[in-house]
Amino acid sequence: MDFSFTRQQEMLINMVREFAEKELAPKALDLDEKGEFPHDIIKKMAQLGLVGIVSPKEYGGSDMGHVARMIAIEEVSRIYPPLGFFFQAGQLAIYMFQMFGTDEQKKNCLTPLCKAEKVACTAVTEQTGGSDPSAMQTTAKLVGDDYILNGRKVFITLGGVADICCLVAKTDDKFNAFYVEKGTPGYEIGRRENHTGMRCIPVNELIFTDCRIPKSNLIGQEGRGLVAALTVIAGIGRMGAAGIALGASRGSYEAAVKFAKERELYGKPIINLQGLQFMLADMNVDIEAAKWLCYYAEWLLDQGKSTREIGSEISRAKVFSSEVAIRTNIKAIQILGGYGTTSEYHVVRRLKDSIELLSAGGTQEIMRVTIGRNIMA
């Protein structure tokens, strides 16, 4: 058993931390207020090799694996969770092409995505509910050499800025995965949701009206589209959400410790108050526990386990970390007192971002259902 990071992983931690502190920290408030997608920052992250961190080198990735991806998401989210959310959502399509795409699709789509020359979204959820994807109504009718898409997707993260959309639709009673490029007639971006957190990452409705795409836009095997999407959602989406939660927790915990050491009451720093130490100790235990659930699941993926084999490990990491993020951020707000909900201290912003994680990549209840089913089996 070895719980230590490799030297390369340690260097990655330092690199991403420095990047986040220099590039993201000064811009976080502004990005949140404006709500504009930060293309320039995403490009810088791609130049550092972070966007394609789990992808093969031959397609512009850096192939450092899932533990490395967790490091990147944790460190970015420690400062600014919405950019962790970019990894969570943007890498869904990257992984989809990587795992299930043809060589041609990898060359045409995966490479520009790893380099952030293009951005992609992944559209599964519909009005019928994200937790029951099999109830989806979007259709893909095969006509000659083309598929014709009709339907609506909702709550699609990055939908408004995506150059490529990976989606799942029904062909008769089979689920197929496809990709559609921006500008394809019949592919329309609908309204942007006004979510409380992750403000600079647009979440939109997407509308497909007689949208014709070539048969070569089918991703993976026919009829295996939903399986492909769920594989990607588990390995990338859920682990991504877990990593954002971990980073968001740690950022606010560190802010709370710093504040408690500096803020004086009754003639000494408030960290001397035992009631406050108890709160910090609880936060500390929660974060350490979440950290090891997250890194263990990612390590298993690096060992070659499939997302199906480690459904419980992934779900544990996601369900626990997301809840830790909520309670850690609330405790941090309590410790900071009146300052806790001011924008300058960034804690309330992390709480708002953390709330979004409760449903991202699957609800907390779906995580528990997955774990419960494995207990029953």
Binding site: M11, E18, G49, S62, M64
Partner: protein, 266 residues
């Protein structure tokens, strides 16, 4: 035409943890256990400048450091930034060296590495802050040196004009290679290593030279070779105490002026 550039760097305690450094009252030495180490901040500017010069003229950048075995870590970080080659001068005999006894092995290491055109250093370190090693090294190598450099302009591949940042202005100097230049903050913005750079760094070989390899005499290195001695180390006790005024800015200003008058500060 390509240039052989050597950048000298030092592993130093992370300044963010300086407050956690304690002193061993018996041995009169600094306890560094548990204090993370980093590349001396100014040395990163030297590394970046070396890389930029290489990108302009082609050539090779080698990073050199003297230190204990774990100083390999800062060399790995330099390699991750894109430095071509690394060497560590490591020998128990080097321990306890002052600046001159550091410059001797560095000069030996540079000679061992072969031909060079340009040596780059950070102007000083955050732990010792003497700024002496660069100039001493240049003297031992018999080449000119220029310190406090915040800009290098090339007139051709062998000749450069540098800007020395001085307290009340600057000095422009023209110099030909070979030369040693110590750089200050502002000369560039050091790059971050990329993920690929980090992964490739692990595959690169780091040379290790001991005293015998670089042919330096025991009398010139380590504690014995050091003409200066640290006779005592003490912890600075700050007697100053801060006072925090809170409230509306207008009130704070009035109260601050009142307090400063009470203290006869204004």
């Amino acid at each position: 035409m390509s240039l052989n550039i050597v950048v000298c760097i030092k592993q130093v305690p992370d300044p963010e943890f300086f407050s956690k450094i304690t002193i061993d009252p018996v041995k009169q030495t600094i306890r560094r256990e548990g204090i993370p180490t980093i590349i001396n901040p100014l040395d990163k500017y030297a590394l970046e400048e070396g890389l930029r010069i290489k990108e302009r003229f082609s050539g090779k950048v080698t990073v050199l450091s003297m230190g204990p075995p774990n100083a390999r870590e800062v060399l790995e970080e330099a390699l991750a930034m894109g430095i071509d080659d690394a060497a560590l001068l490591c020998d128990g005999m080097f321990a306890g060296a002052d600046t001159l006894a550091t410059a001797y092995p560095l000069a030996g290491g540079i000679k061992k590495l072969g031909n060079f055109d340009l040596i780059l250093c950070g102007n000083e370190t955050v732990d010792g802050a003497t700024g002496q090693v660069g100039p001493q090294l240049a003297e031992l190598l018999g080449i000119p040196h220029i310190t406090f450099v915040n800009e290098i302009k090339w007139t051709n591949e062998r000749e450069l004009i540098v800007n020395r940042a001085l307290e009340r202005g600057y000095m422009k100097l023209q110099v030909s290679l070979p030369v040693l230049i110590s750089v200050v903050k502002g000369i560039n913005e050091p790059r971050l290593p990329t993920v690929l750079g980090i992964m490739e760094a692990a595959e690169k070989d780091i040379k290790s030279f001991n005293a015998q390899d670089i042919d330096v005499s025991e009398a010139n290195v380590g504690l014995d070779g050091s003409p200066t001695r640290v006779t005592g180390v003490f912890e600075h006790q700050s007697k100053r105490k801060g006072e925090m005024l809170e409230g509306l800015p207008e009130d704070i200003v009035k109260r601050a002026i009142k307090r400063l008058r009470e203290l006869n500060a204004i």
